[in-house]
Symmetry: C2
Subunit: 247 residues, 2 copies
């Protein structure tokens, strides 16, 4: 995790809504409702800051969550990569993401707010997340699926930068680089950590070295999730505790 590398003293309380994943093709109302339940839970754990490590939830719920929980700063994964793309002077930007994120048009809107002349091109790729979650990341099927989605999209539009607008997509960047080596890829999660570091420094919120342990919670302890956390958090103790919402 980039967070651990850049900010080693910060300890993480992680919540994965594995009982109800994936979010990308759900309706905005349901995504907002589920996100509020999770933020309620994290707030009850007395966190100093919340990162929504998911583009779909950021797109659907960041504004309403900030309004509902003014007591805790909430970071999304969209703003930082948008600022990065604009700061880098990109003029033609492609965006791939889930159906919900693309449907919200939030990337285009935010880019054009900062840089009205930048042209944006958006595409939903809903099968990519389930294929990653079922272990197809390094397969020919994944490459073909990436090609299925991107081929016309890349050929019919002349953008030279592509935002990977879903936290799963950096895992399949190898295929995109191989198929479209001319594109510069932007990774939404990587940029968050840099902004977060600046924010914590400016607001004197950085943690001192401490003995706290990261804590991992999930709404379902499925085999898939346990395998994924073993992969993601292999350097840290990653015992996962089950959390059930009252449902």
């Amino acid at each position: 995790m980039e967070l651990h590398e850049t900010l080693p003293n910060e300890k993480v309380i992680y919540f994965g809504d594995t009982a109800r994943t994936p979010y990308g093709s759900k309706s905005p109302e349901t995504i907002k409702e589920f996100a509020e339940q999770i933020v309620d839970y994290l707030v009850s754990k007395d966190v100093k800051l919340i990162i929504i490590a998911c583009n779909t939830v950021t797109a659907m719920a960041l504004d309403s969550l900030r309004e509902k929980y003014p007591q805790v700063p909430i970071y999304g994964v969209i703003g930082p990569v948008v600022r990065k793309v604009v700061n880098d002077g990109c003029r033609k930007v492609g965006i791939i993401a889930t159906k919900a994120t693309i449907g919200s048009d939030v990337y285009s809107r935010k880019i054009k707010e900062l840089s009205p002349a930048t042209e944006t091109y958006s595409l939903a790729c809903p099968a990519l997340v389930p294929l990653v979650e079922e272990g197809f990341t390094h397969t020919e099927i994944m490459e073909k699926t990436v090609e299925f989605y991107l081929d016309d999209f890349v050929k019919n539009n002349d953008f030279d930068n592509l935002i990977l607008g879903c936290t799963h997509y950096p895992l399949i960047a190898e295929h995109i680089r191989k198929l479209y080596p001319e594109l510069t890829l932007y990774n939404s999660s990587a940029e968050v950590v840099n902004e977060l570091k600046d924010y914590l420094e400016e607001n004197d919120m950085l943690a001192e070295p401490n003995e706290f342990q990261d804590r991992y919670y999930a709404s379902d302890l499925s085999d898939n999730f346990i395998a994924m956390t073993d992969l993601l958090f292999k350097d840290r103790d990653s015992k996962i505790k089950l959390v059930k919402f009252e449902n």
Copy 2:
């Protein structure tokens, strides 16, 4: 729907847990819990019989649901196709299904209970459901994914019958037939309706012609679900009502 064709007087109260789909890679505990919430809801609607139109829920929860709700007959999709396969005298049977269904080993156990000499071969194919739900049914990617899962499985075992142990799989039977024309395919949902008809007749529970309308409920009104119901229920009025569990 086969049910409408075979039993036109029976009216349906359908519940789709679209907010939490898919179930196939979730843990047994979570699947049981979600299934109980749904059965509670259907029982509150005063239904005379419940069909669990999902192999995963049947595999994980049928026994416990029957115990918890003795007042209403509950039908699963596994028993009927198992009886059909055994009655047809199949001696070597392949089974493909979700990870949860295969993990439960329920198909093998039930087949061997009725016919101990029958050999069974099981394989989980977890990416097939998400690909169907994201609209890949008739694509080359779906064919390649079917081949990816089945090629070694079919070649390394000598079964000649294959149970499509997931309610989504009949939608992709075209690919299986094309790749493996020597296999006889068994469809778990088709068999349920035949047994159900016998049961209703024997127990004098058949509906008279009536003016009731089918009712459709779902936990999330996502675009995907609305598109699917338009396809499945095109012959009937299919206004869908949103149901939220207390969560």
